[in-house]
């Protein structure tokens, strides 16, 4: 089964200026009979958009609901389908915007989706943040943050033609674990010069999830880490980190790797 540890923590800049945490994350396990999937959605609301914390929460919730209804098979998900799901999220945000009496731009957020089985993964995103995957041959990026030309610009799902910028990555092979994060963590977790995942960041994370008895007990410690001085001295943005590891069910013969 999939073990998932999600954490979103407000950044010090928002704490100081009274803005709520604009990051959101959600996951669900989906057993389609054929395979056990883990679906994860992450969103990061635009800083100056007044209701982007509502946008990010609605976007992640609705995206998972839409994907679950589609009952996807990991190997058969297409880019067109992913685009369609994103479109449905946009439609939902438009109706929330109407309800709130506000332009949809006030709900702007990035949006990331993972659909993962033990034999493969599909990663989708609009905007920055990213997905990293642990496969048999090591830990590497799934998607890469899309920042637009300048450091303080990214694409939000509400940006014009955002759907044309959709990143869609499919990986085939044994998936041992994966992680998703918003841009608050990307400069700590990725090496931009080499375009690689920073293994010393992710390895201990995956090890901790794998070694735990009950992974829900890791949520508070992970939040604590994201709020710790070592992290906040490097980034004052809201931070989200979702960790996931596959564990073979008990009683199924498997290789013991020391």
């Amino acid at each position: 089964m999939w073990r998932c540890v999600p954490a979103s923590v407000i950044g010090s800049s928002h704490e100081q200026n009274g803005t709520p945490c604009q990051d959101a994350c959600e996951y669900l396990r989906l057993n389609t009979g054929d395979e056990e999937l883990l679906l994860v959605a992450i969103a990061d609301g635009a800083g100056s958009a007044k209701l982007s914390h509502v946008g990010s929460t609605e976007a992640t919730r609705h995206l998972l609901s839409v994907v679950r209804q589609a009952q996807p098979k990991c190997k058969e998900v297409t880019q067109a389908q992913a685009r369609q799901w994103m479109q449905e999220v946009l439609t939902q945000l438009a109706s929330v915007a109407e309800r709130e009496g506000t332009p949809i731009s006030q709900l702007a957020c990035t949006l990331l989706l993972a659909i993962v089985s033990k034999d493969g993964a599909v990663f989708v995103q609009i905007g920055d943040g990213g997905w990293v995957v642990q496969m048999e041959d090591g830990i590497r990026p799934g998607t890469w943050p899309q920042n637009g030309e300048f450091a303080n610009i990214t694409t939000f799902i509400t940006t014009e033609a955002a759907l044309d910028t959709l990143q869609f990555v499919r990986l085939d092979g044994k998936v041992e674990g994966f992680a998703g994060f918003t841009d608050g963590l990307q400069t700590l977790a990725l090496n931009f010069g080499t375009r690689q995942a920073h293994v010393p960041f992710f390895q201990p994370m995956f090890d901790a999830v794998r070694a735990s008895g009950d992974e829900t007990e890791l949520i508070a410690p992970l939040q604590g880490f994201l709020a710790s001085g070592s992290v906040t001295s490097r980034t004052d943005d809201d931070k989200t980190l979702v960790l996931a590891c596959w564990r073979e069910p008990e009683g199924v013969p498997h290789e013991v790797v020391q």
Binding site: G47, S52, N147, A151, N152, T154, L188, F192, G193, H198
Partner: protein, 229 residues
């Protein structure tokens, strides 16, 4: 103290370069700037460096380059953060090869952006400030034509923000001709200090900004501002 499974001491953080905010100053040091004007400009630049150096983020992120034009065009300071540059001493001489200065400066900027890209360094939209108290003495040259074209292209593609500032005596029509998309600003007297204070404040805000933030710049032509209406 309970041991956390996520001990920051045991987790490695990637060491990425800071995102950069390139700030390119193109300065008229022709003969007419002699005396008070050049002294005030010099003081303004020192203030600028000091303000940037005093801000924990800006001093690592804002990179300043200075190109002077007076007789010749000289790159007196290539891009360097406030932590590592000393404002060069400015001495006046010669005429005003403004077009050539712009062409050389924008090439310097493009080269720096290429380095950023090659090294995976993120950057904010660069700032370019041209300050002059006169008009170009190379307005009939290819340099002037090229300068106008490059500024237009750069502004249209949002490659940089190009500001022109006239000091008393400046040919404002020529500045409008050079950069039509952005109205030139006339400095109040010799208030370079206020100009550079505004510039460092603005760049400090940009240095801290995150995607989706709106950086509000105070209007230079507001009543307390450094520019005349």
């Amino acid at each position: 103290m309970e041991q956390t499974p996520f001990d920051p001491a045991k987790i490695g953080f990637a060491d990425n370069p800071e995102p950069r905010c390139a700030s390119l100053l193109i300065l008229d040091i022709s003969g007419s700037m002699s005396g008070e004007p050049i002294r005030a400009l010099q003081e303004g630049i020192t203030l600028y460096r000091d303000e940037l150096a005093a801000d924990t983020l800006a001093r690592k992120r804002v990179e300043v380059a200075i190109v002077t034009f007076g007789g010749s065009v000289d790159v007196v300071q290539n891009f360097a953060t406030a932590e590592s540059f000393t404002p060069p001493a400015l001495a006046t001489r010669g005429d005003t090869p403004m077009g050539e200065a712009v062409v050389i400066s924008l090439k310097l900027l493009e080269d720096r952006k290429a380095e950023y890209r090659q090294n995976g360094i993120q950057f904010y939209r660069p700032w370019v400030f041209l300050i002059t108290d006169g008009g170009p003495t190379d307005a009939t040259s290819q340099f002037w034509t090229d300068a106008k074209a490059k500024i237009l292209q750069g502004e249209e593609k949002k490659n940089f923000s190009f500001f022109t500032v006239g000091v008393v005596g400046a040919d404002m029509d020529r500045l409008t001709e050079l950069s039509p998309k952005r109205a030139p600003l006339m400095l109040k007297g010799l208030r370079f200090r206020d100009l550079f204070q505004w510039l460092s404040n603005s760049q400090q805000s940009v240095s801290q900004s995150l995607p989706g933030d709106q950086v509000q710049l105070t209007n230079p032509a507001a009543p307390n501002g450094w520019a005349q209406v």
